[in-house]
């Protein structure tokens, strides 16, 4: 951020200077994020149109009720809440890294970048566990009068409406769009988190090597931060669409 005083009445748009002293890299990042928002928007709107055109949708309280090392305890949305907390917390450490960057405090930037990277890796690990649990899980499903045991995949949804069969309640196959959209969209988001972690690692190394001290500013950290916050923000919408409603 520029520390020089800006005279009042500066003509920002008359050329010869960048409007509002924003660097081209930041402008580019903002436009990229707008573009990426359209990609996610297209995914989520597609999800919405299909979800509200089918009669039944899996109840997230049933689908997402497991927790690592907790056996068969019924803990609806507990794990995803932890994941969300981790991701939001990594955004907080990112803000702190950017703040330390403004103060030109290399040690501080390094500390908070490490924490942000660890947060990202932790989130990805949680997602890997959740995916594995869903895919390898086996749920009794009534298929053509036979009981089969299914996991949740892109082409199988064991969370359909329940019917009475031999005196007990048993699920029937649900709309297969569920798995496709869940894995497709959380996967695309996870890919963004992954690339964010890679970017943050590069930023960490550059900080460690003193590149930003030589340059005289830590703007790269700020740009990486913009991306990281965007990925967090998208998660809020993904969380809303798949876990809360």
């Amino acid at each position: 951020m520029s520390t020089t005083a800006i005279p009042a009445g500066t003509k920002w748009w008359s050329g010869g200077k960048s409007p509002f002293n924003v660097s081209y890299g930041k402008v580019m990042m903002w436009y990229f994020l707008m573009s990426d928002a359209f990609t996610f928007g297209a995914f989520l709107i597609s999800y919405g149109t299909i979800r509200f055109s089918v009669n039944h949708w899996a109840d997230p309280n049933h689908v997402f009720n497991a927790f690592p090392f907790a056996g068969h305890a019924n803990l609806p949305l507990a794990f995803v809440s932890l994941m969300t907390f981790i991701l939001i917390f990594s955004s907080v450490t990112m803000v702190l890294a950017v703040h330390e960057g403004h103060n030109m405090n290399r040690k501080g930037v390094e500390k908070y970048m490490i924490m942000t990277i660890l947060g990202g890796i932790a989130f990805l690990s949680c997602q890997a566990w959740e995916w594995t649990h869903l895919i390898t899980g086996d749920h009794a499903v009534l298929v053509n009068g036979q009981i089969e045991h299914w996991g949740t995949t892109v082409s199988k949804n064991p969370w359909g409406p329940e019917v009475m069969f031999n005196g007990q309640e048993i699920a029937t196959p649900g709309p297969i769009a569920f798995g496709g959209y869940f894995f497709g969209i959380t996967g695309f988001h996870g890919f963004h988190v992954f690339s964010g972690v890679v970017i943050n690692i590069v930023m960490y190394i550059k900080t460690k090597l003193g590149h930003f001290d030589q340059r005289g500013h830590y703007e790269m950290i700020e740009k990486a931060g913009l991306y990281w916050h965007f990925v967090d923000l998208v998660w809020v919408f993904v969380f809303l669409c798949f876990y809360l409603v």
């Binding site: 010869g16 960048s18 890299g25 990609t39 597609s46 798995g179 497709g184």
Partner: protein, 600 residues
């Protein structure tokens, strides 16, 4: 007099200064292949675009041969295409592949990458007074992603089952099911992967164009002093950056449907007596995603042509452009409306008629900014001191085609009429004239006008005039009759019309159209010859400002190096349209405003 002396400018520190005139050692590889100079990248886009245009054009000639006489056989066709033209007769599957690839190539690879890629790269830094793009590195990557996309798309022509053949709009379920047709197999996957690369390229380019225009204008170049080319390229980039990602989403979901067994677009389908396990998806969803890109895409193609034509019309009429702010405003209006009209491609999909009527209204609203632009072009020409240079001929041709093709858009934008006209040759005629040929005319105008700046030589004028007259007369002769065929209900994409009594009488007309198409294609080869011949053998440019134009690119040396201006970047003192003002033929943008000068 042209301004050969650079203005005394206060030394300002734009970002471009950092990589200004560095005469570091350049090898052949860094100078011509992995170059970061925007001018070289522009030429790379242009040459790649020309190669694609020849391939895409050749495809149309081959399928026009089929339409001219469905019974004829051409032995040389078998030599060229092998089993796709057994016995010298084009096979139906390959006919569809040719139609599909013709559309894909021309829409994306030529008129998007070839047009925007060339002129945004070439003109933005030169006309706003910057040493290069904001990020020359990303700019270079933009070309190489396009190159990668080109290689993948080109390789799909050589696979056993042939390239994608479900139409350039790749609607599922045809595109989603590998068993649906030969072209739905590996060719379709290659198409989707190639387009994903293409979208990355377009994104990298677009981000650069936007930030360069916003951040790197030279001193005095306020937004409202920018040439209209720059405004048009700016809105083009915004359209691309915000609409291509939606196609990316659609393409990713389609790839999943094809390869992972998902059902985003598929529902309750029986193929060859076999019930597929898919359920719950919606093929219409794909159409929404596709056209959310597909309609803005039309303007991504058209806006650069509009911008360049505005510039060339003003320069060669020796008059200021009429209604500069109205021109900018109408570009802006078109950009906004472009995002709000996509469903007019879907009137016959079972769209709610009320929703349809909303889209009719929004679609017809585009006529307003379009008409403003046409009015302003005509009033710019009005009583001008017109110089009929080849660039000017093509710019005038652009206006003519835009009017002719635009008027039929008013028919098609009405959902009631569209029910009859949908998927007929009327649509073919409409979009080829207004978007295809018109944009090509804008592109030709740009090439003829800026060729001296690109290569330091002129194109041959005689060949240029032949090129112009044959192309404009030929384009009207090809596409005008198609309106009548379409009104009579002749559907597009059919392999053979001779089986229908109602279309038999168009046989002669189809033959005529094909003959003209062949002729027009041959004349384009003449242009390609002129283009490459003149790079080495053309008449040399000796005048720094050969067209007596006002914009900054003509203040650079005849062959500008990397960094564009050997000294300081000139400062800008006025808008770019001071022609025939105060008794002076033209006053370049870097000339300070005189004390006794009148306002424009």
């Amino acid at each position: 007099m042209s301004t050969t002396t650079l203005q005394e400018t206060a030394h300002h520190t734009s970002h471009g200064e950092a990589h200004g005139e560095q005469h570091h050692h350049e090898t052949f590889i860094t100078k011509y292949v992995f170059s970061q100079d925007h001018k070289t990248i522009a030429k790379q886009f242009l040459v790649t675009g020309i190669i694609w245009a020849i391939i895409g054009g050749l495809f149309s000639v081959i399928f026009r041969l089929q339409l001219a006489d469905p019974t004829a056989t051409y032995p040389w066709l078998e030599d060229l295409l092998g089993h796709w033209a057994q016995g010298g007769k084009l096979q139906p599957e390959f006919y569809y592949a040719l139609v599909t690839m013709h559309g894909t190539i021309l829409v994306f690879f030529v008129l998007t990458a070839g047009l925007s890629g060339t002129f945004a790269n070439f003109l933005i830094p030169l006309q706003i007074g910057a040493r290069d793009m904001a990020s020359p590195m990303l700019n270079m990557l933009s070309y190489w992603f396009f190159f990668l996309a080109s290689i993948i798309m080109m390789s799909s022509l050589f696979v056993q089952t042939g390239p994608a053949s479900g139409g350039w709009t790749i609607y599922p379920p045809l595109s989603a099911l590998g068993d649906a047709s030969a072209g739905s197999k590996i060719g379709m996957d290659l198409w989707l992967v190639s387009m994903a690369m293409f979208i990355v390229s377009s994104l990298l380019g677009g981000l650069n164009y936007i930030t360069t225009i916003l951040n790197m204008r030279t001193k005095g170049m306020s937004m409202t002093r920018m040439p209209l080319t720059i405004w048009a390229l700016f809105f083009t980039a915004v359209l691309g950056v915000l609409s291509f990602p939606v196609l990316l989403s659609g393409a990713i979901l389609l790839l999943f449907d094809r390869n992972l067994g998902t059902s985003f677009y598929l529902s309750d389908i029986v193929v060859a007596g076999k019930i597929l396990p898919n359920e719950g998806g919606s093929a219409i969803l794909f159409q929404h995603l596709f056209w959310f890109l597909g309609h803005p895409e039309v303007y991504i193609i058209l806006l650069p042509a509009m911008g360049m034509s505005s510039e060339i019309l003003s320069i060669n009429s020796r008059k200021p452009i009429f209604g500069y702010m109205a021109m900018v405003g109408s570009l802006f209006a078109i950009t906004i409306l472009a995002f709000l009209v996509w469903a007019h491609h879907m009137f016959v999909t079972g769209l709610n008629p009320f929703l349809g009527s909303v889209f009719v209204l929004l679609t017809l609203l585009i006529a307003v900014p379009s008409a403003i632009k046409v009015f302003n072009w005509l009033t710019t020409l009005w009583r001008g001191n017109i110089r009929f240079t080849p660039a000017m001929m093509f710019a005038i041709g652009f206006v003519s085609l835009f009017i002719s093709g635009g008027l039929t858009g008013i028919f098609l934008g009405n959902s009631a009429l569209d029910i009859h006209l949908h998927d007929t040759y009327f649509v073919i005629a409409h979009f080829h004239i207004v978007m295809g040929v018109a944009s090509f005319f804008g592109m030709f105008a740009g090439v003829y006008h800026w060729y001296p700046k690109m290569f330091g030589r002129y194109l041959n004028n005689t060949l240029a005039y032949i090129h112009f007259w044959v192309t404009i007369i030929g384009a009207y002769l090809i596409f005008w009759p198609m309106h009548y065929e379409g009104l009579a209900g002749m559907p597009r994409r059919y392999y053979d019309f001779s089986n229908w009594e109602s279309f038999k009488n168009f046989g002669g007309l189809n033959q005529f159209i094909s003959m003209i198409a062949l002729l027009v294609f041959a004349v384009q080869l003449l242009f390609v010859f002129n283009f490459f011949y003149s790079i080495w053998k053309g008449r040399k440019v000796t005048n720094q400002n050969p067209w007596n134009a006002n914009t900054l690119e003509w203040t650079t040396p005849i062959r500008p190096g990397h960094g564009n201006w050997p000294g300081d970047i000139p400062e800008v003192h006025r808008w770019p349209y001071d022609y025939s003002k105060d008794g002076k033929d033209f006053i370049a943008q870097d000339v300070p405003v005189g004390a006794d000068e009148s306002k424009h």
